[in-house]
């Protein structure tokens, strides 16, 4: 069995993963916490906490709320900033075998370019994941990722400053994900992450106010899996670049489903909050399923659910 996948097959620097199991940004910090207890090198890739140009303290609490088979979060991009990441985290990643991908988020086009430039040539950084689910403060506040042209502009800006393989993490807050996926592919992205969390809200009947300090937050967990599944199915039907699924994967069979919908790799997110061993146990379950079904590589089942025989 060879479960390796390549997230940048046509790029000058490839992004080869020993298996399709990745961690999702914001659910693994920068990897150091759980690396104390588990073998990170056994995973396909890890993705950093969303990283901004300057350090951010994040939002007031409550930042999370439990919902039916899911959770809301509004962390507000608490992170150490790109400089500290380069100085204190990347040297640790450099000693690891697992590819480390930095999730970046800017508030302006310029910030995306600056972030990409700062991370160019940094040992230990294997790729970028560009979060476009952020309001474009220069253009009316719609998210970059909600407008095909603006999403494409972010991709071109990052590509102009970086030779690293680039994943673009799409927002589910669009009426149709396909035009965005195509625009991002045409602008030069190497892969898509489908998708970010879904805007949602919970109300505290005792205080008669939203639970989260910011009102709304992003829904994740098993509750969102069918929505992510459809978006993976749709996006992978219109692009040739790899699609990485992100949304509610809790088991090895969930990974199988996402691959059948068209995913090349699958990110494990909220599941890790419930069980720090989740990325590893999900990988073991996926490998066991492949062995039992006689599947010898990911491509054998990738996108089979889309076939019309």
């Amino acid at each position: 069995m060879d479960l390796t996948v390549n997230l940048a097959p046509h790029h000058k620097t490839e992004l080869r993963l020993r298996n399709p199991i990745m961690t999702a940004s914001g659910t693994f910090s920068n990897g150091l916490e759980l690396a104390k207890y588990h073998d990170v090198d056994a995973l396909g890739a890890i993705v950093s906490k969303g990283t901004t140009l300057r350090p951010r303290r994040g939002n007031a609490t409550p930042r999370t709320a439990e919902t039916a088979a899911g959770m809301l979060n509004s962390i507000g991009f608490q992170n150490i900033g790109v400089s500290a990441l380069i100085k204190t985290i990347a040297p640790v990643w450099e000693r690891w075998d697992v590819p480390a991908i930095v999730n970046i988020m800017g508030e302006t086009l310029d910030e995306y370019g600056t972030l990409a430039a700062r991370l160019e040539g940094v040992p230990g950084v294997a790729g970028l994941e560009v979060n476009v689910s952020c309001p474009n403060v220069e253009a009316g506040g719609l998210e970059f990722g909600q407008v095909p042209e603006q999403a494409a502009a972010v991709v071109r800006e990052v590509a102009a400053h970086s030779t690293l393989p680039m994943l673009v993490k799409l927002t589910p807050s669009v009426s149709d994900i396909r035009p965005i996926a195509m625009a991002v592919e045409a602008a030069g992205a190497q892969a898509l992450t489908v998708t970010n969390t879904i805007p949602a809200m919970a109300i505290d009947v005792r205080t008669r106010r939203p639970v989260l300090s910011t009102g709304s937050g992003g829904l994740s967990g098993p509750a969102v899996k069918p929505i992510a599944m459809r978006n993976v199915y749709l996006a992978s039907s219109v692009v040739d670049i790899p699609v990485v699924a992100s949304g509610g994967a809790m088991t090895g069979l969930d990974v199988v489903e996402f691959v059948m919908a068209g995913a090349t790799a699958v990110q494990v997110g909220t599941a890790t909050f419930l069980d720090p061993a989740a990325p590893w146990s999900i990988l073991a379950e996926f490998e066991a399923w492949c062995a039992a079904e006689g599947v010898t590589c990911v491509d054998e089942i990738r996108g089979v659910a889309r076939r019309r025989d």
């Binding site: 914001g26 207890y37 609490t61 409550p62 088979a69 809790m250 419930l274």
Partner: protein, 258 residues
Amino acid sequence: MKSFLAEVTESVRLYGDTHALWLRSPDHLASAVPGQFLMAYAGESYDPLLGRAFSIFRVRRGPGGPEFGVLFDVVGRGTDWLSRRREGDQVRLVGPLGRGFEPRERVQKMLLVGGGIGVAPLIWLADSLVAEGREVTMVLGGRTEAQIFPAALLPSEVELVVTTEDGSLGETGRVTAPFERLLPWCDQAFACGPDPMFEALYRVARDAGSNKPIQGLLEARMACGLGICYSCAVFPRKGGVRLVCTDGPMFDLRDLYA
């Protein structure tokens, strides 16, 4: 830190609406110290989804080996499910987690202050301090008598002071008054309770010109307990941000409020 299944050995309503759940200890829990916590997972499905953080309230030797207890009020679906576990049932947990209490070596007089269910981690701390031969005075406060941990269940060596807001047991009022009286006596103080209690204790100590270390064990909404979800942020007055789960839950109150 490990994810593990533990068998329930006893489930009991200990006082008022407060439950104690006793579970069989896995070997790795022998390294835990008072003030550390566990994430407990309620239910057998994805709903409820997230763990609940509980400090270890006591350890004991049961007929089948070492056991640990968690102490909780039923406040929602998770604690309701836990309160209905019976002997032989299994509960999944992750832990031990966080930075627990750090009693100084070679000091003798220990003051423990608990508000409401915040008493939980202080019981094990009191047990272990008494076992080390130290002097322990506990101040326990609650709204009413039903919220006060029974004196009969504490080690007999512990000096106990009780406050209730309605005057149904002990002194009428809050823990701050006895804390102010006892602070000059003690070498070190430990506290667990709601956030306003910590700030009140900090102010009492500051206004008294006391330099004694007060270790507070914070409670916060957590999704993971592992330092990866960033739910449990606390913002020290002097700036910055810390996570209760991995930077704490034990903080010197001066680091938060000064």
